[in-house]
């Protein structure tokens, strides 16, 4: 399973209405962080589970779900976490 698929699978536990995951690794080739081989992603996720949570808590929830992937495979992850009402 490739990394994007693994991320999608883990995010499913947040019962998202939509996931928009863009691999931006190509934009970072040659910079210091890219040397370690991790990937850069840009994520927009919409889930009712974020209702009543601040941004910090939403990001923490996503990091918790992604768990070990954040240690090495994912080098950087830009996050927009919204509820359906906030779209």
């Amino acid at each position: 399973m490739n990394l994007a698929a693994a991320i999608h699978e883990r995010l499913e536990t947040l019962s998202p209405e939509s996931i928009d995951l863009v691999d931006e690794s190509g934009q970072h080739v040659g910079h210091a962080g890219a040397a370690s081989g991790g990937s850069h992603f840009n994520l927009t996720i919409v889930s009712a589970q974020f209702a009543g949570m601040g941004t910090l808590a939403r990001h923490r929830k996503i990091y918790a779900v992604l768990g070990p992937l954040m240690q090495r495979e994912i080098h950087a992850l830009a996050i927009r976490a919204l509820t359906p009402d906030e779209l």
């Binding site: 910079h31 210091a32 962080g33 941004t55 910090l56 990001h59 954040m70 950087a76 830009a78 927009r80």
Partner: protein, 104 residues
């Protein structure tokens, strides 16, 4: 002094602390560059930055300290505020300026 104590001393010893890759003049990562720029736009004068690339123990230690897996990380008066996405959101809503005015 272990790494956690060192980090604690740093974040409580300065009103505004940014753990980043590189320095404000030579950021080594786009997210760190963006964080510095936001703080600069907010008019933060007494910004204390820590270059995690210079210190592998702090680079890992800061992730454990805040239970937050990425860098940059912003601390105001010893409290973890967030990473660069959160800083951007808070800046756009005016929340960050308010926090920095009140506390820093």
């Amino acid at each position: 002094m272990d790494t956690k104590e060192r980090i604690q001393q740093t974040v409580t010893g300065h009103p505004v602390v940014l753990f980043m890759k590189g320095t404000p003049d030579f950021p080594m990562c786009g997210f760190s560059a963006s964080a510095v720029q936001i703080l600069d736009t907010c008019g933060v004068k007494a910004l204390h930055t820590v270059n995690v690339l210079d210190d592998p123990e702090v680079r890992q230690g800061i992730k454990d300290y805040a239970n937050w897996p990425t860098i940059p990380q912003l601390y105001v008066n010893g409290e973890f505020v967030g990473g660069s996405d959160i800083m951007k959101e808070m800046y756009q809503s005016g929340e960050l300026q308010k926090l920095l005015e009140e506390k820093a």
